[in-house]
């Protein structure tokens, strides 16, 4: 089981990614409407030294799809 995060450039790309989900995949979140999103991605390290890690990646004007595979 893993969580995949898709940061898509357009609603079409996000909807395509959703349609691509395997049969047992589950959408946890997707950008709900035409308003794109902006924010930070916190990169989590499962292994030591600690979780979450400090690395931040920004995204601007994107459409998000978070799925459980």
């Amino acid at each position: 089981m893993k969580v995949s995060i898709f940061i898509c450039d357009s609603p079409e790309a996000m909807l395509q990614a959703e349609a691509e989900l395997p049969g047992d995949g589950e959408v946890l979140y997707k950008t709900p409407n035409a308003r794109s999103e902006t924010g930070d991605i916190v990169r989590y390290f499962v292994k030591p030294p600690r979780s979450p890690g400090a690395t931040l990646d920004k995204f601007t004007g994107k459409y998000l799809l978070i799925a459980l595979l």
């Binding site: 395509q16 959703e18 395997p22």
Partner: protein
């Protein structure tokens, strides 16, 4: 003799260890339907072969009519649970003396059984019963699989509505009743605890009242006749003549006294409300469930609830409205198109139903497109592309997993991936996932993005016989 005594002792221990647990199975004649009742205390599991699925040939001798699968209905667990406690201790000592064998055997047994009702709201009780009855009707063939799905959907709607109403009105939960083997029973909070709590709250109320009296007297003292608080406040507001040092001190005493009275009044009001709540609760016999689980008593009728209900009610109303917007025609059409008996009788309606559902799908696509501000065609294309890619990926993943199990082809696949600049860095994890399982490589391909995925298909097309979905 000793052996006999030990045998009896062991037998008693064994019996004590499984005392009075009940399990019965009743085979009903016919296609081997089964009713099973299990303990705690007598919950019924009903089972029946699915008559719509042909029996398969048995995997073992004499099982030619094994059902392919069964339908099951489990009665909701009873409202009373029991805790069976059995304790046994035994000891034996042996000594050989001049008078012969002396054996002493001591044994002690204890057995107790306690039970308590499980506090459930009316909603929970009704839903448990309702869903079990639906299952019963399905099991006995009164409703079809299509009906079952539709009724389940309706049940969900009813569930949301009733829960919402319960939230609005405040749930009415019957007080739990505890029972013990010696016949004692109790309902509601322990009387002693209730009295203690009442006494404590009464003391709090008296203390708050006393504090308020003191604050009121202090304010009255500050509000001297010669220069009342009101006079001093007006003089300060006017600015001229300025307050003297003595007057400033008096005015401060006035302000402090007013603040103290306000604070003491608020404290007294809270204490009064808590005391009133407690008195009201004591008359209803509330408290046992909360007292056992959390050590506190929750009073649903607290003064803050009115505002909370108002705030929640609007949200709940929206939920109920949305729930009742469920499309009954859609459910009817689903039934017409899937239930062979109904579709035979209502075949003229099938076309209308197909049109209705097609229109509904188009309508949903339009709504989705409007929400994202893109044309419907783009939505359809994106979804079709996604489905195609998923199908291709699924097929190719099976092929990749089989392909890399051959060492020679795995080496060639590695070389082909390494030769592609965009895929070179992913060659190792790609092959590792392929070797692990079809599911693993499917997930891996899903994660690397469409462009890289198609490049991988091209690179391994001839080696592993992959299709590209075109």
């Amino acid at each position: 003799m000793i052996k006999m005594i030990l045998f009896l002792f062991a037998s008693i221990l064994t019996l004590a260890g499984c005392s009075s647990a009940i399990y019965r199975q009743s085979a009903i004649q016919g296609s081997n339907p089964v009713a099973i009742s299990v303990d705690a205390r007598q919950r019924v599991l009903l089972s029946q072969n699915d008559p719509t699925v042909p029996a398969r040939n048995g995997a073992h001798a004499g099982a030619a009519n094994d059902p392919t699968f069964r339908r099951f209905c489990a009665e909701p667990s009873p409202d009373v649970f029991t805790v069976l406690g059995v304790g046994a201790s035994g000891g034996a000592s042996f000594s050989q003396d001049t008078k012969g064998l002396n054996a002493a055997l001591q044994a002690a047994f204890s057995s107790s059984e306690t039970g308590a009702t499980i506090a459930r709201t009316q909603t929970i009780n009704m839903l448990r019963e309702m869903m079990f009855r639906t299952c019963e009707r399905y099991l006995s063939g009164a409703i079809s699989p299509a009906d079952f799905s539709i009724i389940s959907a309706r049940d969900q709607r009813v569930m949301v509505s009733i829960l919402a109403i319960e939230q609005l009105t405040g749930s009415i939960t019957p007080p739990a009743v505890a029972m013990s083997a010696n016949g004692e029973g109790s309902t509601g909070m322990n009387a002693t605890e209730m009295v203690k709590l009442l006494a404590a709250k009464q003391a709090d109320l008296a203390s708050a009242g006393s504090d308020l009296d003191k604050a009121t007297k202090a304010l009255a003292a500050a509000d001297a006749t010669a220069a009342t608080c009101e006079t001093l406040s007006a003089k300060k507001a006017a600015g001229t003549p300025a307050l003297t040092t003595d007057e400033t001190a008096k005015l401060k005493a006035c302000d402090d006294g007013k603040a103290a009275v306000a604070k003491a009044t608020a404290t007294r009001d809270v204490a009064q409300a808590q005391y009133d709540d407690l008195v009201a609760a004591s008359k209803k016999g509330l408290g046992i469930a909360a007292a056992k689980s959390g050590g506190t008593v929750n009073f649903d009728q607290s003064t803050a609830r009115t505002d909370a209900v108002i705030a929640v009610s609007n949200t709940v109303e929206n939920i109920v409205n949305n729930t009742f917007r469920q499309d009954e025609t859609q459910l009817f059409c689903f039934r017409v198109l899937t239930d062979p008996n109904i579709s035979a009788a209502l075949s003229p309606i099938q076309t209308q139903c197909l049109n209705y559902l097609t229109t509904k799908v188009a309508s949903d696509e339009k709504a989705l497109a409007d929400r994202y501000g893109i044309p419907v065609a783009n939505i359809v294309f994106a979804q079709q592309t996604g489905v195609t890619l998923r199908t291709t990926r699924s097929v190719n993943s099976q092929k990749l997993h089989a392909c890399v199990s051959d060492a020679g082809r795995a080496t060639r696949a590695n070389q082909a991936l390494a030769a592609n600049a965009a895929l070179a860095s992913q060659a190792a994890p790609f092959l590792a996932a392929s070797q692990e399982s079809a599911t693993a490589i499917e997930q891996y391909l899903f994660g690397i993005g469409t462009v890289a995925e198609y490049q991988a298909y091209d690179a391994l097309k001839s080696i592993c016989g992959l299709g590209d979905g075109s």
